[in-house]
């Protein structure tokens, strides 16, 4: 697996895949995509890296433990659900910004929720794959 071609390709593919995952996350509100798929694609990027360079390097690249990504993602999602409380609205009401953000477009609390899903899925997928490949 650790062939030079593969390793070189991975160094180029990793940032591309990560960018693509963010793109999928952002387009998910009206078009196919969203946090779940985005998270899976991001996980693929890191798994590819782990295959090419070994788990130790991937963990170093990630900086945070994937175990920490899960609760962070969940916390973001809950936060998005609870944001309407500030305005006295029922839970999970969609709130929208008045002005579109640059690059992202018109963002709302749904995006925050989706970002939470993205992180949670990334965390779960990486935890599972890392644990399995470490125990083999």
């Amino acid at each position: 697996m650790r062939h030079l071609t593969f390793r070189t390709a991975t160094t180029f593919l990793l940032p591309l895949l990560l960018l693509f995952s963010v793109f999928i996350l952002l387009r998910g509100h009206y078009l196919p995509g969203g946090g779940f798929v985005g998270g899976i694609i991001a996980a693929i990027a890191f798994v590819l890296h782990a295959f090419a360079f070994g788990l130790r390097h991937t963990r170093k690249l990630l900086r945070v433990s994937p175990m920490l990504l899960m609760p962070t993602g969940l916390a973001l999602a809950v936060l998005a659900a609870m944001l309407p409380f500030l305005q006295g609205l029922p839970i999970m009401t969609s709130l929208w910004l008045n002005e579109p953000l640059p690059v992202v477009g018109l963002a709302g609390s749904a995006l925050l929720f989706d970002a939470g899903v993205y992180l949670a899925v990334l965390g779960v997928a990486l935890t599972i794959i890392f644990t399995i490949s470490e125990s083999v």
């Binding site: 175990m67 920490l68 609760p71 969940l74 916390a75 809950v78 609870m82 006295g88 029922p90 009401t93």
Partner: protein
């Protein structure tokens, strides 16, 4: 915000579980957070109960989407009572877990799963949408899978396979029933369905759907003949885990049955007869199962099955008084069954044995503790004025007035069996002389534990026993509550109006 108060019990447990996930490896912090969070949730549940009981039904339309299109959360007297009971018993179990769950198991996310489970329970009690109810059931069973396999012993996996298969089957049946119902009525909101179901032409198919729901919930709440997974799996996990299973997991099935069959499908004569027969057979077969067991925890598991019959019987008769009895029994049963399994855990710690024949000497060694344990045991049997006695008055009287003599016979049979079984347990474990046996090295015995651990073992049992005592001695208040709930169940217009916003 008053309406968002409804969802707070769910959000609190969810946030707590997330915070616990952040402290994945720091067990000491997890223990403290779990206790604090459980106490907080009791306060929240109490507040919610106080706001709802005696005044109006609160509703919350998630996301601001109006019923019947969005998901409604409804807090009426019944659901808030259930939430209060769930938070009380989960607080006791959380405390009991601290000293009884092994460190190795805690490391694999015991406390986060525990709070996810309670979140699922709270959600199931609050939701007014039948598909959402299914989702909460899934949350509950996924968390319970973690519990039932935590530890990974062979006997546990065997129990888990049965538990997993049957619960998955139940979910499938439940989901199918929802799909058929949606196809028939075009709605998933229970209050909305209540009106639509009567105008469906094909009442035969409605009847079939009702049976599907009965089967789905019946497996979950362990009704005859769908109960055999329960005694096979509930005795394998540790005491704290099986007590939360015993106290709440089967009861959430009962709650769903009472809710769905009072709101969506109003039982007709055929349904009533069917449920009454099932209730009777549940009482008899569960009782007989308990009678032949020598394993303490298996016997307790069969007692769960046996006592499910009382609540189902109340549903089967479907009068205000019978439902009131069933609800009273439900209130009593949640607390008592949680406590029973905690006591099982304590007795195991004292004796190091699960086989009743090899137990003994608890009364001689711990007289005060034995008296404490006597309270829930006698409540379970139904010695007046303790809590098990009162709901039985209603149930017995109603089976007379509705001339369900078969059910009456089964009720009496169930009570006698319970008396016999508990008496035998008492004489074997408490009064019999303890033989001197070698101690097994891998068990942490009760008398070797430091004082604070003993306190953490006793306090939850004491706490739940006090609640049982209150249910028995303050039965007047509980009767008033169960009457209110039963009246609301039979006359569901207040619930429907509140959800659909018709009263305004």
């Amino acid at each position: 915000m008053i309406t968002n108060l409804i969802i707070l019990p769910v959000l609190l447990q969810f946030s707590l579980a997330i915070i616990l996930l952040f402290f994945w490896k720091k067990i000491e912090i997890q223990k403290k957070l779990s206790i604090v969070g459980s106490i907080l949730s009791v306060i929240v549940a109490g507040t919610l109960f106080n706001t709802v009981y005696g005044s109006e039904i609160l509703t919350l339309q998630a996301g601001g989407w109006m019923a019947p299109f969005g998901i409604s959360f409804v807090a009426d007297a019944f659901s808030t009572t259930m939430i209060l009971l769930a938070s009380l018993s989960s607080a006791a179990v959380s405390m009991f877990s601290i000293v009884t769950i092994k460190k190795a198991r805690m490391k694999f996310g015991y406390f986060p799963s525990f709070h996810f489970l309670v979140m699922g329970l709270n959600g199931a009690f609050l939701t007014g949408d039948i598909f959402n109810l299914y989702v909460w059931f899934e949350v509950i069973i996924i968390s319970s899978f973690v519990f039932i396999t935590l530890g990974g012993k062979k006997v546990q996996i065997e129990g888990a396979v049965k538990y997993f298969t049957l619960n998955f089957l139940a979910s499938m049946v439940f989901l199918t029933a929802i799909a058929v119902l949606y196809g028939l009525a075009g709605s998933l909101n229970m209050a909305d369905l209540s009106g639509k179901i009567k105008s469906i032409e094909n009442q035969g198919l409605v009847q079939v759907t009702a049976i599907l729901f009965l089967v789905g919930f019946g497996i979950k709440s362990a009704i005859f003949p769908l109960y055999f997974w329960l005694p096979d799996s509930y005795h394998t996990p540790q005491a704290a885990i099986s007590s939360i299973f015993a106290g709440l997991l089967t009861k959430v099935g009962i709650y769903a049955l009472l809710r769905v069959f009072s709101l969506v499908f109003i039982p007709d004569e055929f349904m009533k007869t069917l449920v009454v027969i099932l209730a009777g057979l549940t009482l008899v077969s569960g009782g007989l199962g308990a009678l032949v067991q020598t394993n303490m925890r298996k016997m307790f598991s069969y007692l769960i099955v046996c006592h499910i019959g009382y609540m189902i019987g109340g549903l089967g008769m479907f009068t205000v008084a019978a439902l009131s009895g069933a609800v009273f029994y439900l209130i009593h049963d949640i607390i008592i069954k949680t406590n029973l399994f905690l006591i099982g855990g304590l007795v195991y710690k004292i004796n190091g044995e699960l086989n009743m024949k090899r137990m003994g000497g608890i009364y001689a060694n711990y007289p005060a503790l034995s008296l404490l344990i006597a309270v829930p045991l006698f409540s379970l049997v139904g010695v007046p004025p303790l809590s098990g006695f009162w709901p039985k008055i209603d149930l017995f009287a109603e089976s007379f007035t509705t001339s369900n003599y078969f059910l009456l016979g089964c009720f009496i049979f169930g009570s006698i069996i319970t008396l016999l079984v508990i008496t035998r347990f008492w004489s074997e474990a408490f009064w019999k002389k303890m033989e001197n046996r070698e101690r097994r090295p891998h068990i942490r015995y009760y008398d070797q534990a430091p004082a604070y651990e003993k306190a953490l073992l006793i306090i939850p049992i004491l706490f739940l026993s006090l609640i049982s005592l209150y249910i028995g001695i303050g039965a007047e208040n509980i009767f008033r509550l169960s009457d209110t709930i039963a009246t609301e169940l039979v006359d569901n217009s207040a619930y429907i109006n509140a959800v659909l916003g018709l009263s305004k």
